[in-house]
Amino acid sequence: MTVQENTSRHHIERLLRDNEDGILDRWVQISNEPLLGRVNESETRRELHEIYRVLLQSLSRPEAASELRGLLAELSRNRARQGFTPSETAVSVYGLKEAVYELIGAEQEGDEQALRGFIWLSRTIDGLGLYTFEAYSAARDKIISDQTEQLLELSTPVVKLWEGIVSVPLVGTLDSARTQVVMEKLLQTLVDTGSEYAVIDITGVPAVDTQVAQHLLKTVMAARLMGAHCVISGIRPQIAHTIVTLGIEFGDIVTKATLADALAYALRKSGVEVVNKRRTRLAIRAEEA
C-alpha cells in the first residue's frame, strides 16, 4: 500500500512538474473566471505561479510548507482587503484541482495510479483551501476591528466654545461603548480645562431611545458630581416627541433646541454678556439725550 502510495505521489509530482505551464495557464483561467476582470490577470498569474512553485517544493520537502502557508495567507489577505467573497477567494486555490483533473482526464484515461495520485493531491489542496479560508476570515476580522477602533476615535471631539465652556457634538448612533468613551473624554476635558459648562449636542444622533437617554443622563450626573453643569442641545422635534412618548424624565437637566441657544445660556450663566453692536437709531438717541 505504502509503495503504491509512494509511486502515485511520485507520479503526480512528475505530472505537475512536467506540465507546469499548461496547468498554470488553466489554473489562472479558472481563478479569474468568477472575478470578472476585477483583478489584473498578470498579477494573479504572478501570485499563483509563486504558489505553484512553492507547492511543488513542499511536496518533496515538508520544510517548504510554512512558506506555502505564508503565501496563501498573503493571497487571502489581499483578496479580503479588495472586497472579494470567501468563495471567490477559495476558488483561487481549488482551481488547481480542476486544472490537474482536466489534465489527467485528457492524458491518461482510467489510469488507476494517476487517479490515486490525484486523490492524494486533492487532499493536500483541501487542507490548503481550508487554511486560505481561515486566513481570509482572520483578515476580515482584523479589518472590522480596525474600523471599529477608528470609528471610536472619530466620534469624540470635545470642542472648546468659550473660556469655561466646552461642547461635544455627538454624531451617529450612541451605544454603551461609545457613550463610555464620550463620557470619559468629556469629563477629562472638564478637569483639564477647568470648564464649568459642558454642552452635549445631539443634533447628529438619529434616534433617542430609553437606552441612549439613560447614557446621556449618566453623563450629566457624572459631570455634576465633578462640579460642572451640563446642557443638552440639538433636540429635534421628532426626538422631543419620542422622548415624551417614551416617558423619559430628563428631570432638571437644561435642554435647548440648538447649540446656539445652549451657548447663549452658558455664556449668560457664566456671567458673560453678549452685546449687539449694531444699535438702533432709537437707542442712540436715547443715549444722547
Binding site: G194, L225, H229
Partner: protein
C-alpha cells in the same frame, strides 16, 4: 492612614483626602469633622478628593453623611476635585449624592462658598448660585 488632617482657613474647614480610605478612617473622619465644626463654628466644609482614585458605595455615602451632618450644624459642604473615573463609578453605583454641592477644583470651591447660595447645585436647575 490613621487620621485625615482637618485644616481651618478663616471660617472654612478644609479636608484633603490623600489616597484611598478604609472604612475605619471614614468613620473617624466623620466624627472628627463634626467635632471641629462645632468647636470652630465653621460656615463651610470643603472636601478635596483630588487624590482619591477608587471609591466604593461606603465612601460615597460618607460624603452624603458629612454633608448632612454639616448642614445640621449650619455649615455648607462642597466636594471638590472629583476625578472622572470616580464620578463615573458613583453614577454607575446609583449614588447621585443629592444635596451635595460640587466644584471642579479647590479654587472654584472656595469661590462657590463665598457666594451666598440657598440651595445645593446638584438638585437645583444648575444655575450657579448668586446670579
Amino acid at each position: 492612614m490613621d487620621r485625615v488632617p482637618i485644616l481651618k482657613i478663616s471660617d472654612i474647614l478644609l479636608v484633603s483626602i490623600q489616597g484611598d480610605l478604609d472604612d475605619h478612617a471614614v468613620l473617624t473622619l466623620q466624627e472628627d469633622l463634626a467635632d471641629r465644626v462645632v468647636a470652630t463654628g465653621a460656615l463651610g466644609v470643603i472636601i478635596d478628593i483630588t487624590a482619591v482614585e477608587i471609591v466604593d458605595s461606603f465612601v460615597g455615602r460618607m460624603l452624603s453623611t458629612i454633608a448632612g451632618m454639616a448642614r445640621m450644624l449650619d455649615a455648607e459642604t462642597i466636594v471638590v476635585g472629583m476625578r472622572p473615573a470616580v464620578a463615573i463609578t458613583l453614577v454607575e453605583l446609583g449614588l447621585s449624592l443629592g444635596g451635595l454641592r460640587t466644584a471642579l477644583d479647590l479654587e472654584k470651591g472656595i469661590a462657590l462658598l463665598s457666594r451666598p447660595g440657598p440651595e445645593p447645585a446638584v438638585t437645583d436647575d444648575m444655575s450657579p448660585v448668586g446670579q
